[in-house]
Amino acid sequence: MPIFSKKNSIDIAFSTITAVAALTVLVVICGIVAVLFKESWPAIQKFGFFRFLFTVEWNPVTSVFGAASAVYGTIVTTGIALLIAFPTAVGIAIFVTEIAPNALKGPIGAAIELLAAIPSIIYGMWGLFTLAPIMSQYIEPFLQKYLGNLPLFKTLLAGTPMGIDLLTASVILSIMIIPFTASIARDAFNLTPGVVKESAYAMGATQWEVVKDVVIPHAKLGVFGGAALSLGRALGETMAVAFVLGNNHKIATSLFDAASTITVTLANEFAEADSDMYLSSLYYLALVLFGLSFITLAVAKLFLLRAEGKHSR
């Protein structure tokens, strides 16, 4: 930069102010880690790391806290959500980049991205009042009737469908994360050089073969990055899940069972925590969640940066 050669006092002041502003991001991240550690320290000392993670009991009365049920709920809901959302999102990206007529590409892409703008509390409201009754009356009995007798599904689909359960929460989460994966996958697909696609067409490949053998391998990193990003998002989603999951601290083997996630536990119990150990354990949960999502998001970012680097070269 040529500018630093001639120093001007106002310029130094201005650059310092902007530098401080930029540093706030770093300060906040370090602050979050420090505060979460400090607040959860009593619980860390009492329960340890692995014992906390693998204890199912969550009992404020006897002051025994374990994260297993909440971590289990978090992983199951995000896992199923990703399982539903990923193929749908990739399908949307293929449709928007390769199949849709040019006039429709923009509008459909924008409409899908609008899904990301709807606040999570609205997803929660809709889930509780509209989706949950539909799930309990139609979809869940249907699944039970046709899949309920298969060996694995017998346990997965056991119980009376109430609508307030793991499956409903996962479906809502999946809708919420579709736009993230879809828009990143779309951008990645768009980076495939036209010449490469055309040469595949010239060899007589069908449209699907071009997508499957040229576009997707080319955009692999971006698509995985998008999926990891949505995973990180889904891990930390609170309100949409809080409405439809109940807050039930147990390892539910059936998808038709109420359960709990880290976020739901925090949302429901934080303001009511009456003992120090209770609050400390909640902070411990928050720390686990922060660690999980931070690592996931960092991996996502790594994928996306690599994808970017591949194309700028």
Binding site: S15, I121, S293
Partner: protein
């Protein structure tokens, strides 16, 4: 011949599946928005904006306190978050352009954008609520500002980078110091983009509930005191929707409708602004 048929069939079925996926996405959008629209418009009344809540279980009343509270919290969050974000983005794109420091902050901000908002709520609770022993509107505003900063910072950085370097050189050649170049030339070129970032970040935080649950908490009374608990629409929606009364549910739907409309308008206008400015 047979193999070609087979390939054609695979082709059509795969492409139809991806078309179905797009339909599914659109279906959810229409389903959710339509549902909010139908329930919300049916429950919308003038009293909702003009009256405060009545005691639980009674019918009538409105959510004036929550509307005012939401506006206050969002306003102060913007007031804190936007300057910090814009200035931080300026540092990354101008003074620290191309340095490792700028890259690190930029990547960390991208991660911060998606960090669970409830964790930020817990963080602010430990810093601003626990030491002072009471919930406060300020804590809520700070929590939202923390969410806003990385969003604004990243858009600002991107938008400033889009301003051609030659424009700056032209100003330098006239003898202008860097801060003057930034304030009078670069900001002017990137104003629309920065404004878009601000609009989108406001849309992002206006719908946040989780970070407000234990910072600004909730308040059934009309209060403009940012030092005490302040009602917000989102937390009220959560409380009312989970509550047992039908009248509460109606009001929650109406509030959901208003807040969705507000956020979608912000988002769409931000997007359109961006498209209009960077069309070519």
């Amino acid at each position: 011949m047979k193999r070609e048929h087979y390939r054609k069939i695979i082709n059509y079925s795969a492409l139809s599946l991806s078309g179905l996926a797009a339909l599914a996405g659109l279906f959810w959008l229409v389903f959710i928005l339509g549902d909010v629209l139908v329930h919300g418009i049916g429950a919308l009344r003038f009293e909702l904006f003009l009256q405060d809540p009545v005691p639980a279980g009674m019918t009538g009343g409105g959510l004036r306190n929550a509307f005012i509270g939401q506006l206050m919290i969002t306003f102060f969050a913007t007031l804190i978050g936007v300057p910090v974000g814009v200035l931080g983005g300026t540092f990354l794109a101008e003074y620290a352009r191309g340095t490792t420091f700028a890259r690190v902050i930029s990547v960390l901000s991208d991660i911060m954008v998606s960090v669970p908002s409830i964790v930020i709520g817990a963080f602010v609770y430990a810093v601003l609520v626990k030491p002072l022993h009471h919930f406060s509107g300020w804590a809520g505003a700070v929590a939202l500002a923390v969410i806003m900063i990385p969003v604004v910072l990243r858009t600002t950085e991107d938008m400033l980078t889009l301003v051609p370097w030659t424009v700056r050189e032209a100003a330098f050649a006239l003898g202008a110091p860097y801060y003057k170049v930034i304030l009078q030339v670069v900001y002017r070129g990137a104003a629309t983009g920065i404004l878009t970032g601000v609009l989108l970040s406001m849309a992002r935080v206006a719908g946040e509930t989780a970070p407000l649950l234990f910072t600004s908490f909730n308040n059934t009374f009309y209060s403009t005191d940012m030092n005490g608990p302040v009602a917000s629409l989102t937390v009220t929606i959560f409380q009312y929707a989970m509550g047992p009364y039908d009248d509460w549910h109606q009001q929650a739907w109406a509030a959901s409708f208003v807040i969705t409309l507000f956020i979608l308008m912000l988002t769409v206008s931000g997007r359109m602004l961006l498209k209009w400015r960077y069309k070519k």
